[in-house]
Structures are given as structure tokens and as C-alpha cells.
Symmetry: C2
Subunit: 189 residues, 2 copies
Amino acid sequence: MLQPGSVQIHLPAWAGEFCARLPLALESPEERMRVAISLAEQNVANQSGGPFGAVVVAADTGQVLAVGVNRVEPGNCSSAHAEIVALSLAQQRLGMASLADAGIGPVELVTSCEPCAMCLGAVPWSGVSALLCGASKADAEAAGFDEGDRADDWVDQLERRGISVTTGILRSAAAKVLERYARSGGTIY
Amino acid sequence: MLQPGSVQIHLPAWAGEFCARLPLALESPEERMRVAISLAEQNVANQSGGPFGAVVVAADTGQVLAVGVNRVEPGNCSSAHAEIVALSLAQQRLGMASLADAGIGPVELVTSCEPCAMCLGAVPWSGVSALLCGASKADAEAAGFDEGDRADDWVDQLERRGISVTTGILRSAAAKVLERYARSGGTIY
């Protein structure tokens, strides 16, 4: 008979060294985005998942609360997108289902690519107060990825819920990771 | 410095006994839904999460591939909705990020309540070919839950992707679990 159990999503082994080299604080939106893009690049270089990275940051101090990368194929888990991984790690470390309740002020989700429909739906439940995006939906689709049935006014949807959205941060550097991945023949989710 | 790690979402302890008592095959949509509703009820009775249950079933044989319940609060994970838990468990057990690639024919996600925006976005990535729902968005909202910014034509969105949708299976029994939870003053996500 069926055995219950647990879902487990592991960061790749290289993430330990990656995090050990991060500065204590990521000051600007660009510095935060550079980390998300580096995570995406390293994930491709190490063949540990798709070309997507994300980082969860305490907005006021710049402290990194968690990093995430796409772990769909290696983790056998279609919801292991970089954003879900980073948000879940941050929540479990802080012992809070909502990052808004963690007592560390506003929290940002910084992602190398605009969220797909699933990750967009996850953002309001996470307790972040800001979303920072690099590559656009068009960049993802140009590389062959499906972003799902996202509403055209998705930015307004989040802002109506009090979550600020900034798109296009270091967009061209972020899009290049997707292009290179697609050109190299990587698995498209 | 930040330590990488893993996301872990455990089913509650009572789920072992629950699964051991399930029949070998769940034949009809109603029988499958009754299991999803029972999971929601048991989750409330055992105070192990929100009033939502889901089951992933091999459509042709009725074999249960995984069960899921809402584990948001006890698991400190805002994305640990019943549907995500059940889909992820099924994928990790079968060793496949897409249930469509598992070689077991079409797979169904049976959920005690229509999916929120996040879970709706997760369905196309999961590889299921059918979604069966009990309680409606209106039932969830009447009990105080937020289903997120789901498109009005969400059923058409899934069906355009080749995923069949059936709503309202044992709706009144499914809605009663939500009503009782809300009346008892349970945490609303």
C-alpha cells in the first residue's frame, strides 16, 4: 500500500560555496539581482537544473535570507521553481509560513526572470512586500519556456495586494542566461 | 553566513494509518473525491493544517499515487497547499518531474476545493491530464479564504492545455468541511 512521506527539495552542492562567498549585505536592487542571475548561471554551468535563480532578501538591511534555483528535473518536482524554493527555504529557516510575520521588516523576492503563473500565485501567500524581476516573460518565451496563463495586468494584481513590483532590472544580462541555455539544448520546462 | 539546505514538507503522522486503510483502487470520481474530503476533515480533526485535502490517482486503474493535505502553518511553508503536496509526493515517488512521463497512463488530481491561483498555475507543469474539484471558490471565500487572482475562464485555460476539469463533485460535503473549520475559528490562509 501507499506509504506517506515527505517532499524534499535540496539545493545543489555548489550552493554552499556560493553562499559562503556572498557579501553580508546586498545593498542595491542591482546587487541583489546580480546574485539571482549568478545563481541561474551557476545552475546551468553545474547542470543542476534550469536557468533560473532567486534570492530572498531583508529589504532594509540587504541580508540574504535564502537563495533558490530551479530544481524541477533533478528534484523530480514540477513546482521546484527558483522562486518557490527560495521562499520556502526562507520561511522554514525563519519558522514562519509568512515572511511578513518574521519580525525582520519588509522582505523582497528577487528573481532572475518574471514569475510564471504558479510562482505569481505564490507571491501573495509568501508575505513578501516587493518583487524584483530581471528577464521578461518575452525573454523566457523567446528561449522556449512557457510562463503559463498569467494575466496581462499581473503587476497591478500584486500592487493591489500591497506588493510592489519592479521589472527589467539588469534585464539583458538576465535574458542572456536564458538564451545561452536554449542555444545549448537544455531541457525546456 | 547563510547555510544552504533543503525544503522539507512532511505529511502528518495520522496519514500513515489513513493510507493503510484506503482501498487498493478508487473507482469512481465520487469515491476519489470522498478520499480528498476525508483528508481535509482529518487534517482539521488532528489540527495538522488547513481544511484542504487532495489525492493523485492513476485515472485508468484508480491506484492512489499520493495524498496531500494543507501543511502551510505546521510546515512553515506558504506553498504547502494540499495540491502541491500531493503532486510533489507523487512525482518524487515515481521519480519524474512530469506525471505524464511516468508510464502509468493519464493521472488525475482530485482536490477537496477548487485550486487557488498558485495551485492552478502548478497544474499544467505537473503532467496531470484531469482535475476534479469539490468545493467552489465561492465556498472557500464564504469561509474566509482568499483564492488569489484566478482568471474567470480558468477552466477554459486548463482545457486549452488538454487538461479536463470537473467541478462540484460532492460539493456540499466538501463545502461543509470549510464551513465547520471557519466556524470553529481555525486559522485562515
